[in-house]
Subunit: 514 residues, 2 copies
């Protein structure tokens, strides 16, 4: 017997609040489209005007987000027991998340927001110059200022539950995330990762790199990755794939998702990986509940969960043997004879090569998390006051030696490589590793639920996995926080085991060790 | 001796007014970009959200345009004799044109604006259905309503100088334009046009149509028209060319101009004509004064002057023998041997074929203006009350027989062919013919000033003409009204002679008559 559950009656305050939020998100979508256009379509001459358009929209959006009426409507809603009776109802989720966003937007004094914008705007310029000259000393005064302001920001955002300053900043990217929790996860990762990488590097039979060096026409690469994106479930009636220098996934809402990728003559693996990564973001975006466009209930959970979707399609799917059983025979349709001499082992091995390196964005699936660990330790120590900005290069270089076994030759290849801190994005980096962890744990559960996932991939069937993700992850919008969602779906809190089990069981055989 | 002219000191009211107007135009540029994206890039799924985004921006823009402070600032500026001392200064031009726009925006009562939007929204649907069924009677009630509202609109917009209702509407598209003036121009055109077309149709040696029927690969067509657009002076660092169903030129400002074109396998002439037409709009847009972006002083004069720029490049340049002396030998670089059998006379003749027809958008350079004449006579009579909507088809068909010598078989090929009236755009059509007239008269003056224009075109040199237009037309922004600009540049008020002289001297030899 099925009981139809009526939506609870809402209130005038709730309706006004949601109408306001939806209007605000129309503007946010417009800003999103302008940002996409700037990276993909805009001619060079458009830069100055575009930055004024974006600043204007940012101001309009901020005014609407901090509108005092939002506070009044929220207070009315929060006093309405009927409305919030079921904490997992769209109404309760919306009120909870609008409250969170309103508090974040109003807790920071305007002078701090403006000073932060000014400081980071200059710091980005200084960082670019310092990186070019490979001279950390040049960036250090700016970074010191950014760290100082970030600590002030953390003070404003802290609540009685906040254990340390880093947590208050990380919470803006990954709600509920704490340094203690991230540290515990890394404690589960670090020893096994370091051991794994050591074993792989000792292999006498590493995989061939030939696949990664083969020159292939770019238009054929583009047709190929577009085909794969469509096969794994990206809906081109509700989205686009274009080119940009740095691949990203943006757009305005679930029915108009804009993703990009990039091509190099001799990097098909990179183009495919980027495309599957962004397709994972895009499939998540397209899977959000369309009935709740413009509301928190129709929005994604967090950066970590978003990254879990991109990493799963890029890695768990796109670097699996089963995927290549389907995909390798298709290569000849796009590249003729150019890859005929490579066996499936050459291709599968080639895209799974592990190589400790200096640069995060070029890192492989295994060593990537060690790059993040260094950054997390730096950020946390800076925010705690345990590390002064002047000591950063030495701290960085020592950790790279310890975790990755590499010697950092200069700051450009070391602590100056990422733009994030110059932009004030402290607390952001660990969301990448959280994404890897969520991906592995969710994928294990999908495999258990769907039984013959590998056989499906080998036949080019990806819709069971996509539907599983639609149902178990995407359809919930912001109903659950990231950690809650993970427990709700997998039955366990997030842990390092699934990722490590996955990496070891895949990589050791490829390298012929253990 | 050169005297440096200092910019006159402005006032707080003027500065506030201009800052407000520039901000408003940032939003208008954003709406422009969203409109461009919708026609060129947006996936089908984006429609519903996009219409909400555009409605939101339209509301924000309207609120800013009718903001009472604009009226106060204007009053202050208009009382400031120093500010307005030179009526051609940027300050005086801006105050004059902001006043004009403010009056237009505030003269219409809100209930009329809303009723007009509702009525035309429904009328567009009715028109589309009626056209499909070729049944004017179905559209007639909607059109009657649109005409009634347009008369009410004209009453609101009329001043003591307004001679008849049509003028008040035409003024919104072509400032200062009147039915009496348009009628006088058509009186100069009609007899000569009808006679010319009669002579051409009596030719025993009409040009070959082979060029217009040749099938050519679309990617080669695209490379070719892009090359021509660049050669005639469209700056791809400050603009783009994409595809859309209906070619248009939009964008946000002079440094980011977005134009589109269209392709069919067997219509290279159409693709080239569309591209040169839109490039003319684009070159005008890119030539507007960058120092005054977002102010009337940085805006175009009128639809008629805009159309003069597109028509000049499309027709006076693109359909000239000199242009094809340069261009024809280049065809083999794009199309190999596919056009080798066609002589320059075949190509030049083919793109200048005249053929009286039923459909305006397919009309040639000569008969086009007769299509417009019919529409002008209909509009004017409807607005005066001399024609009832029920009698429109008979009126239309009788005029088509008289001017173009064609029998209208049904309403779909007759008075239902254009969307304009269903949208409430009464007074718009004559701007197309004004554009043709301005193009011919300005081009005569350019030819006199630049002497060997034909020899330049034959060598592929288009920058002298472009620079002449930049200096004499584009750089003035809205300094002059259309008629004033014409007199200022050519020394004569607009007349029908230059266009008729141009058409006769070109077309009669092509057809081997007279």
């Amino acid at each position: 017997m099925t009981t139809a559950t009526a939506e609870p009656a809402t209130s005038a305050a709730y309706d006004a609040l949601i109408a306001h939020i939806r209007e605000t998100n129309l503007l946010a979508g417009t800003a999103g489209l302008l940002g996409w256009d700037q990276e993909t379509m805009m001619p060079a001459g458009g830069v100055a005007f575009r930055s004024k358009q974006l600043a204007q929209l940012a101001k309009l959006i901020h005014e609407r987000k901090t509108d005092a009426r939002v506070g009044d409507w929220l207070a009315d809603c929060e006093a309405d027991n009927d409305l919030l009776a079921d904490p997992l109802s769209p109404q309760a989720v919306n009120v909870r998340e609008v409250r969170r966003a309103y508090d974040l937007a109003t807790k920071l004094p305007t002078d701090l927001v403006e000073a932060f914008a000014r400081t980071t705007s200059l710091a980005k310029v200084e960082w670019a110059e310092a990186r070019k000259a490979s001279d950390f000393a040049r960036f250090e005064p700016s970074l010191r200022e950014v760290v100082g302001m970030s600590r002030r920001k953390a003070e404003c955002l802290s609540t009685s539950d906040t254990a340390e300053p880093w947590d208050a900043l990380a919470d803006t990217y990954e709600p509920g995330s704490t340094a203690a929790e991230v540290e515990a996860l890394f404690n589960g990762l670090r020893p096994r990762l370091v051991e794994l990488v050591g074993k792989l590097m000792g292999s006498a039979t590493p995989p061939s790199n030939a696949f990664n060096e083969r020159e292939l026409p770019i238009d054929a690469q583009e047709r190929f990755v577009r085909f794969v994106a469509e096969q794994i479930g990206f809906d081109f009636e509700r989205g686009r794939l274009d080119r940009s220098t740095h691949p990203f996934c943006g757009g305005t809402h679930c029915n108009d998702v804009r993703m990009t990728t990039r091509f190099h003559k001799n990097m098909l693996g990179d183009a495919l990986g980027s495309t599957m990564h962004e397709s994972g973001h895009g499939i998540y975006g397209q899977g959000l509940p369309a009935d709740h466009i413009g509301e928190p209930m129709g929005d994604d959970v967090s950066l970590g969960i978003h990254e879990s979707q991109s990493r799963m399609w890029e890695n768990q799917v796109g670097r699996s043997r089963a995927f290549w059983q389907w995909c390798q025979p298709l290569l000849k349709d796009y590249f003729g004879d150019a890859l005929n001499d490579l066996s499936i082992d050459d291709v599968y091995g080639g895209i799974n090569i592990v190589r400790p390196s200096l640069i995060r964005v070029e890192a492989d699936e295994a060593t990537y998390n060690l790059h993040i660990l260094v950054r997390f330790e730096v950020e946390r120590a800076l925010m705690r006051g345990d590390l002064s900005t002047g000591d950063l290069p030495a701290f960085w270089n020592e950790r790279y030696k310890q975790y990755l076994g590499v010697d950092v030759p200069d700051d450009a290849h070391g602590c100056l490589q990422d733009i994030h801190w110059s932009m004030g994005a402290i607390g952001y980096f660990p969301t990448y590793t959280l994404g890897n962890l969520y991906a592995a744990q969710l994928f294990d559960k999908a495999r258990a639920d769907l039984a013959d996932l590998d056989q499906q991939f080998a036949r080019g069937e990806f819709s069971p996995l996509k539907s599983w993700l639609n149902e178990n992850v995407h359809a919930h919008g912001m109903r659950y926080r990231a950690g809650e969602l993970c427990e709700h779906v997998t039955g366990h809190p997030l842990s390092a085991e699934p990722l490590m089990d996955y990496l070891e069981s895949k990589l050791l055989p490829i390298y012929g060790v253990d």
